[in-house]
Amino acid sequence: MTSNWGDLTWLGDVRPAEDAPTSQEAVRELLLLESRGDTYAVPVERVREIVRVGRVTPVPNLPAEVCGVIALRGEIVQVLDLARCLGRGSGTDAAPTLPAPDAAPPRSARGFRSSRPRIVILQADAGRMSGLRVDRVLDVWRAPEAAFRPAETATAPLVEALVLRDERFVSVLDVDRILGLEHAEYRGPVR
């Protein structure tokens, strides 16, 4: 089929862990990601699949946060680098902040968790999709609604909310913002 087929692996359904809160309180399912040592989250319903980082073809005339395009079952999809989106430099030279490749995954090995960089395929509008390159995929967490706090959108425009988890705040990413409906008209660097 496609040459990049072998580079991509569908890593299973992203399903919530069973150890989630059992009470009837309202929860939102979040996929926890790591970028430059910080934990971020995206709503699970926006995640289409998670693939290994295979061959990424660079595309000229796009801003630096786009690492390139990948082939995903016959479709060509742009991949954004989360670290660069967040203004944290390239994700590709992020080795020092990554744990050793074989560091134990947080819990029993569920397919989607990784200690290596991954591309999270996010669902955009109208059946379209975009990839988001992250340093690793941590877990799915059923976050209680009560733990959500509004984020400072003025200073962190890509963060939708903050959620308290184990005494630390997880930044919930504004997927629509990242998939950049507002920069869809970008036509290359001004020369």
Binding site: T2, P60, R128, S130, G188
Partner: protein, 700 residues
């Protein structure tokens, strides 16, 4: 009822949308015909009213089935009003036709909203208001034209009661209308073999329609065998039974007159039987007037021909095309295995067998590719018909005399491209009507015929299709363009611009806005938008104009988007594909042959200057030092451009795919393709690069 309730759920399928669009198109077309007959103060053709009624009825059913209530409510009211019109309970008026057109557009807006949730939701209030206004048409002063005929018109006929009972209200109305107009009413009886009756009946109906109006077709009881079926047709016509009998002789049908109209009255317009389907009132005052040929010649389609076509979602064809594209890649891999086997002494025999198979496979694959491409192709006729309708409306609204001439409507183009071409074409035709064609007095004073002419012509040119819109209006005043461009800072005061360059400026954003230039230049809104749309399709727009002689706008488009022959080139370490259809030639770039002109590079090519761009520069990369670069000369329409690349890597078939993601357009890149072991290869946007290079030159 909240907006949420009106929003259809997942049940709304693409089939629904495409069928609904067809119906809307039929409604639009029918309403345009209706508006024409109202303007001409003629009674509307029953076929038109019937078609409209059926379309509204189908739309209502469809909307109901898919729970699109907004459309359903509108369609219901449309149906009611159209029913009243066709039964003669309501007389059509300009205002009511306009209201119906508004309702159809509202329904179109709902569908738009259904198909793409991002589009603005059509206001619910205004929709309900519209439904109400359409409904109120029914309360208007009824003007029953058949009031003159006392009692049921059918009673005056020598008609079998069993047939009379079977007539619908509409058929009775048409019968009365025809009797009132002093026509003959005949009963045509015919017997067919069951096996072939569909085709034969439709042939007979077609013949009868040429002679008059077929009011009703009823299966008739009679002394026939089981393998046969008998029909009685009620036909109203100006022909007497003998004349009609002659016409249907070959169909073995018998004709019996049911009435005896006043012979003088019915016979005074024998030409009517030939020219129109009998619907028109015999109007003595219309006699000397030239007969305007009806633009929509109604074809009588047999049931059989309808069942032979299949409606296919274009996306399914895309999927097929993708599969073929992948097969093409596999084919190349098989070919390379074959040549490896051939090269080795021990495997040569298998190699040559495999090579033979590969060749056969190759031919079949090319066949398959061509057939699938062919399925995607549709004639431009549909688009041109829409333009004709818009033109008719503009003619009425603007009160300008303009003849629209259409040529090459059978030229075929990829369905997707046809859809995308509608808006730009519409735009250009509207502009021509609105601005280019002068008022009649002005034209006569300039020594031109009072009526303007807009020609739309399509033709194939190599692997491209050219669509030209030519008007004989006032043309573009290049001096006014220069003044305006100076004002906007698009050119400097010292710049010398050729006439061609000045014309090109019409496409610059902001230059051609209506209020500023229209009075002098004759061109209107948003030509920059038209050009941007075309370029996004891999096409190009050219303009040519002679002051006071007219303007020609040419669209050049690739015939299909789906599969291309590509020239592979290398720029630094990355491969790119250039659609071969746009490649004119390739040549090595000899050291020292590049010249500079005002900061831009030129190549001397057979006596002509060729503007040259390095793809490295386009992509913001370092030019590769040393090496032996090549120039790929690309061209679209009249424009030429040399692209400098590091290496040529041969040709390949490629399926162009769009790049998904946040950035919908990437400068210089039209899409991507997957090529065997290469992985993804980006496809250059030749139209965009030529465009950009032209802009740079203009700005220089």
């Amino acid at each position: 009822m909240s907006e949420r309730d009106l929003r259809p759920n997942a049940k709304v399928t693409r089939e629904f949308l495409s069928e609904a669009e067809d119906l809307l198109e039929r409604l639009r077309s029918g309403l345009a015909d209706l508006a024409d007959s109202v303007s001409a103060e003629e009674p509307p053709a029953p076929d038109v009213l019937n078609g409209l009624f059926r379309a509204a009825h189908s739309l209502k059913g469809l909307a109901g089935m898919f729970a699109v209530e907004g459309v359903g409510a509108l369609a219901h009211q449309l149906e009611e009003v159209l029913d009243a019109l066709r039964l003669g309970r309501l007389a059509p008026a300009r205002s009511s036709v306009a209201l119906l057109e508004e309702a159809v557009e509202q329904a179109a807006a709902w569908l738009e909203w259904v198909s793409s949730p991002q589009s603005p939701s059509p206001g619910l209030e205004s929709a309900q208001d519209l439904v109400e206004r359409v409904r109120r048409l029914l309360e208007g002063p009824a003007e029953p034209p058949s009031a003159a005929a006392p009692g049921s018109p059918a009673e005056a006929l020598e008609l079998d009661p069993s047939i009379r009972r079977a007539l619908t209200e509409y058929e009775e109305h048409r019968l009365g209308e025809n009797l009132r107009q002093g026509r003959w009413v005949h009963l045509v009886e015919v017997t067919f073999e069951i096996l072939s009756f569909e085709q034969k009946l439709s042939d007979l109906t077609a013949t009868l329609r040429e002679a008059g109006e077929v009011i009703s077709t009823l299966p008739a009881p009679g002394d026939v065998s089981e393998a046969q079926i008998r029909f009685s047709l009620l036909v109203a016509t100006t022909l007497d039974p003998d004349e009609l009998g002659e016409r249907v002789e070959t169909h073995h049908a018998s004709v019996r007159a049911l009435n005896r109209p006043h012979p003088e009255e019915a016979r005074s317009h024998p030409e009517e039987a030939r020219s129109t389907p009998a619907s028109r009132r015999p109007a003595p005052e219309a006699e000397g007037a030239p007969e305007e040929s009806t633009e929509s010649s109604r074809e009588v389609e047999s049931l059989r021909s309808i069942s032979d076509t299949v409606r296919v979602d274009i996306r399914k064809l895309d999927e097929l095309m993708n599969l073929v594209g992948e097969l093409v890649i596999q084919r190349a891999a098989v070919g390379s295995v074959a040549s490896r086997l051939l090269a080795d002494e021990t495997t040569r025999r298998f190699g040559s067998e495999l090579a033979k198979l590969h060749k056969t496979f190759d031919r079949k694959l090319q066949d398959l590719q061509a057939r699938i491409l062919d399925v995607r192709m549709v004639p431009l006729r549909q688009v041109f018909e829409r333009l004709t309708r818009v033109a008719r409306r503009l003619r009425r609204e603007l009160g300008k005399e303009v003849n629209l001439e259409i040529r090459g409507a059978d030229t075929e183009l990829d369905k997707l491209l046809v859809e995308e071409l509608v808006d730009p074409l519409m735009h250009v035709v509207r502009n021509a009507f609105d601005h280019a064609i002068e008022p009649p007095e002005e034209r006569v004073a300039a020594g031109k015929p009072a009526a303007g002419t807009i020609q739309i012509e399509a033709f194939q040119s190599g692997s491209h299709v050219v669509v030209q819109v030519r008007d004989d209006g006032r043309g573009i005043d290049t001096e006014a363009v220069r003044a305006r461009a100076l004002e906007l800072g698009l050119i400097g005061p010292e710049d010398t611009c050729s006439r061609k360059e000045l014309l090109e400026l019409v496409f610059a954003p902001g230059l051609s806005t209506r209020s500023e230039v229209s009075a002098t230049s004759g061109r209107g809104v948003g030509m920059d938008v038209v050009r941007a749309n075309l370029v996004s399709l891999g096409g190009i727009v050219d303009v040519d104009s002679q002051l006071s002689r007219g303007t020609t706008i040419s669209f050049t488009l690739p015939i299909t988007l789906a599969i291309i022959q590509a020239l592979l080139v290398r720029v630094t370490t990355q491969r790119f594909a250039i659609p071969l259809t746009a490649v004119l030639e390739t040549l090595p770039l000899e050291p020292g042959t590049l010249q500079r002109s005002q900061g831009h590079e030129l190549l001397h090519l057979r006596g002509e200057p060729l503007p040259v761009r390095w793809l490295h520069d386009e992509f913001g990369w370092e030019r590769t030092p040393g090496g032996k670069p090549y120039v790929v000369v690309v061209g679209l329409g009249d424009a030429r451009l040399g692209l400098v690349v590091d290496r040529l890597d041969g040709q390949q078939d490629a399926v162009i795919k769009p790049i998904q993601g946040p950035y919908r357009t990437v400068r210089g890149i039209a899409g991507a393709t997957e090529l065997g072991d290469e992985g993804i290869v980006l496809v250059l946007d030749v139209a965009g690069l030529i465009e950009a290079s032209g802009r740079v030159r203009e700005a220089a």
